[in-house]
Symmetry: D2
Amino acid sequence: MDDVIAQIRQFRDERDWKQFHDPKSLAVSISIEAAELLEHFQWIDKAQSAQHAAENREEIADEIADVAIYLIELADVTGIDLKSAILAKLKKNAVKYPVEKSRGKITKYTKL
Amino acid sequence: MDDVIAQIRQFRDERDWKQFHDPKSLAVSISIEAAELLEHFQWIDKAQSAQHAAENREEIADEIADVAIYLIELADVTGIDLKSAILAKLKKNAVKYPVEKSRGKITKYTKL
Amino acid sequence: MDDVIAQIRQFRDERDWKQFHDPKSLAVSISIEAAELLEHFQWIDKAQSAQHAAENREEIADEIADVAIYLIELADVTGIDLKSAILAKLKKNAVKYPVEKSRGKITKYTKL
Amino acid sequence: MDDVIAQIRQFRDERDWKQFHDPKSLAVSISIEAAELLEHFQWIDKAQSAQHAAENREEIADEIADVAIYLIELADVTGIDLKSAILAKLKKNAVKYPVEKSRGKITKYTKL
C-alpha cells in the first residue's frame, strides 16, 4: 500500500493541493464521496445489490477509490497510520463483539 | 495491506457476518461511518481542524478505521481490488485535472 | 409552519446559538443527522422497513425532526423560503420527469 | 404547509412512485441529497459560507428542497406528522440543553 500512498501524495503535491487538505475538508469530502457510492444502490434491494455491483463494476470501483483516496489523504495529513488504525480498531471491536455472543447476529448497535 | 484484509475477513467470518455484507448494506454503512467521522469536525473551523485532529487523535483514528474496514469489506465482496481501483482512478483524475490547469486551484467540481 | 419556524428561532436565540449557524455548519449538520436517521435502517431490508419504522416510530420521528430543524435553520439564515423552494423544485422536477415517461419507473438518475 | 404536502403527494402519485417510497429508500435518498447540499460548501470556509450561499442561492435552494421533499415523503409514508415531530423534539432539546447552561456554547455533543 505504501506505493499507492506515495502516488496519491505525488498527485496532490504536483497540483499544490495540500493547502486545501485540512482534516475537516477531507472529512467533508469523504462524506460526499460516500454518498455518491451509496447513490449507486439508492433504489436497489439488498438482495439485488451483488448483481447490481457486478453489472456496474467500474463505476462502483471508481466511487470506492474516491472514498479511499480521501481517506488515505486524511490519514496522511493527520499523521495516522491507516494500517495500525485498522488493526487497533479490530481489537476494540473484538472486545465489543465477542465471537460467541455475536455469531450470526447483527443489530442497530453493531458497528462493522 | 494483505494481512490487514485477511484479518478483517477473519473477524467477519468468525462471527458469520458475511451473510449481512451485501454491497448495499456496506455502502450504507460507509455513509454512516463517514458521518460519524465528520461529526468530530461539525462545529470546527477548517483552520482549527488540524489542531482538533491532533487533540482527538485516537477517536478520529477509530472513525477513519471504521470507514476503511467497511470499504475493504465492500471491495472484498464485490471482487474489486482496492489498490488497482485507486491506481485506475488516479489515472482518470490525472486526465481530468491536468497539472498545469489545476495547480493551486480547487473548485466545486474538483474531486480529489 | 410559521409558528414552528418561530419556535425554532426562539430556541436558537435563547441560547445565543445563531453565531454557530453559518450555512456550512448547518449543511454539515444536516448530513450528520441524515446519517443518524439512515442508521435506523442500516441492516434492514427495504421490504421490512415500513414495519421497522412503525416499531421505532418515536426514535425515527426524532431523527426526522433533527434533519428538519437544521434544514429550517439553514433556510432561515440564507433567507430562502422553504415553501417557495419546494414548489419551485417540484416544477423543475415535473419538467425533468414528465408523467407519461416516468410513470412507474425509477432510475439511478431519478431524483425525488 | 398542508398544500405543499398535497402537491408532493400529487407529484408522486401521478407518476405511480409510491411503490418505491419505502422508508429505507427515502432515508437513503435523504442522505444522498444532504451530501449534494453539502457539496456546495465542500472547500468553503465557514466564514465565507454566508456569502457563498448568497451567490449560489438558487442551486442551494434546490438542494434544500430536495432534502425537504424526501423528508416530507418519509414522514408521509410512516404516518409521522412533521410539525408535531419537530415540536416534540424541540421540547426534548430544551430539557437536554437548558438555556442557562447552553447559552453561547456548542460542543461535539450538542445536537441542534
